[in-house]
Amino acid sequence: MAEKTVLGMDLYWLNFYGLMILTLIEVLAVGANLDPVAESLGTEEKVITLWILTIIAIPKFIMIAAIFMHLYGDEDSGILTMTALFPAFFILIMVLFVGLTHPDAASSLPDWCRPGTYGL
């Protein structure tokens, strides 16, 4: 499994460079002044950075999990991905029930996602 090569370069080197570049983008996104972009989209800079960070974090997550942790393409990776994903359901419950239910969480989240109060 360690001898696979993709696009001529060795898979691990490629993955390594990919991750480095993505992290660099993240740092740049935060450092750079994004006000002009924010005006164009009508929200302030913080929300933009949040979206950029999440968009970049997801591929990094997948790249590490799939390639470095052999969750893809090996003969035993099928079932191991299942085990890795098994707690996803429980994590989702924890995040929904505990993370987002602060009584006076006046947040911009759409109402369907954040449980409201009965005008109590």
């Binding site: 003969e75 099928g78 079932i79 359901f89 419950i93 505990v98 239910t101 602060h102 009584p103 449980p115």
Partner: protein, 780 residues
Amino acid sequence: MRSRTKGAVIALVAVTAMLAIPSAQSLPGGIAGVQQAGCNCHGAVPSDSVVPSLEGLPESYNYSETYDITVSFEGGPSQEGNVNQGGFHLWASKGSLAVNDATAQLYNENEVGHTEAGNDQVSWTLTWTAPATDTNVDFILHVNSVNGNADGAGGGTSGDMWNKLAITLGGPVEVLDEADPFVVLGVLIIVTATLLAFTLVFVFYRKDPEAFDWDNFAPWLADWLTTTDHKKIGTLYFIAGLFFLGVGGIMAMIIRIQLAVPGNDFLTQEQYNQFFTLHGTTMIFLAAMPMINGFANWMIPLQLGAADLALPRINAMSFWLQPFAALLIFTGVFSGHGADTGWTGYAPYSVSEGAHYGTTMWAAGQIMLVASSTLTGINFLTTMAVMRAPGMGWMQMPLFSWSILVANVMLFLSIPAFGVGLIQVYLDRVIGTAFYDIAAGGDPLLWSHLFWYFGHPEVYVVILPSFGIISEVLATSSRRSVFGYRSMVYALAGIGVVAFIVYGHHMFTSGMSPTLRFVTMLTTMLVAVPTGIKIFNWLMTMHGGSLVYRTHTLWALGFLITFTLGGISGMFFPSIAMDTHLHESYFVVAHFHYVLVGGTVFGFFAGIYYWWPKATGKMLSEKLGVLHFLTAFVSYNALFWPMHRLGVWGMTRRHHTYFVTTEEALGSLPMEAAGWNMFITVSGFIFFFSNFIMVFNMIVSSVRGEDAPDDPWGGWSFEWMTSSPPPDHTLYKLDDGSWGLPTLKDANEHIANEPGWLSSWFQRLMVEDEDKGDKGEVTH
């Protein structure tokens, strides 16, 4: 051998040291410092050349009589002419002191000391009025004789001497000191511990009477302490579990004494809080969970046909984390500062100064339990996932293994939430982080969320193994295979999943956001369905079978009755309207004791009677077993059923006392509640002592019981194939008489050795098909 005994000695020293540190640390300066604030500032050591005396006190006082008493002393460096000769400080535990001249001053009703003016004399006069009730009064007098070098040499106190005098005065009627409940608890625990040690030595003696001396006791003991064999660890878990079941039982009895009569003062409020906290924690974490691990450690490798658990050394470690965790949880109890936050330990109180110091230890101890449970969870899941006997697909595992599997999945996915919550409370209390600091915006609901996210799966983890045991016991004793094996497995999995989305019903009235309450109301309604399926399946198993009445069958039927009652009484809570009325009342206490004691403990008793012959090779006596069942079952129902009524009347949980409405005074409960409470206390004691019949039965059977055959009850699963007790390295008698790991044959002709439904689904989903070729289709 030398190094091993040295290791054991060091370990003993370490353990005793650990024992000493907490109690020394959490006994804040001793009780003496508070009442006897005598000014022993003159010189460190009381010297007997100063003789204090207290005249004017009668042999025994009569009610609210006033007495003139004179305090005086002789000896020591004081002489007539000095600027000041001496001082005194008198403390009286009851009654009220009074001063009749300027030479003495009154700090408060029971403390008097000398004044500036009265500093240059050797005797002072005061009056004391006796209390109006029968009690023992303690007087503690401090006197110091001063050499008068007030000029400041050594702060004016060098060379002075002081002494102390203590007198106890009884009232007209002799009053016994009421027993301090902690002393009662301590004595009882030490008695049970010595009993345990005695049985340990006795068992060693019985093993081989000639070799009964120290140098083969040490290796035998060391072998037990350092074993990694799943059977020995199972037995260790059992001993720990039963011991703490006894300790938790003792606490329950003391609580019941306190609640027997309205307005009782056997336990003060603070002590009661500690008792119900530790009763809850001990019973769930130190009695039920180890017993589950005991059953699982013993039976899973045997039932799966595996030699031992996947990670034996981690198995040993996760056991040894528990007794030391128990040590930590109990720190501070005997010095009156144990944890008093309830087993749930709600946030703002558990991190406030009001909570006792013991709460930190309670949290630290439970973090260790979290670690131990996670390790056990990993161990069992890996064993079941990878080490099953050939031919045993997922759908061919005995139901007990399935129940342990689902229980452990739930346990080790939910317990980190509890661990994180505990670490937060621990850090808040120790280094002042502000997780639950209200002023800094900390949110108390975060703790209840984290706790109950773990709490509810935890109570299912405690009940599921009993489901497994009952499925095994009922099937074997009615000579039938379990009805609806597949629906039982799906019901187990159903409970496993639903348990996580249902925990909100513990917080219906706790200010949680209403939408969440509504969602958990619907899901809690759902949780009754899988449990209902299981009960109906058990009943159907008995259909057409031929029930053989052994003790374990009696216990299984007892389980069915009490658990169904508990389940039905549990149905009252999902609807928020009902729960607002019943929350935190004794109705809740009745429900969970029905499900916990009636369900889990009855299931464990059934399991003990069922697997005892396999584990020890000796049969238990049926007569004693039936006697134990009858007394326990009757007293159990008499104990917990009236609690439903008390709950509806409005008796609140965690109140150290209650008051009934009499003609003249309005109380919170109707008149009959007092009668019912006394009835509950009496039946509680009967239930407590009925369990000793089982202990006696165990001892008798291991000494004189007749040998047990390999398969006394005619069960089918693998554990009945080995000899009882199974050989050290678990080996199975194969049908050709040789020993080795068994392969499971399957009576259901159509799914013989092809992947079960679940695994074929996995294969189709995950791995490309090019090399899989034929895949047997599953026909029903």
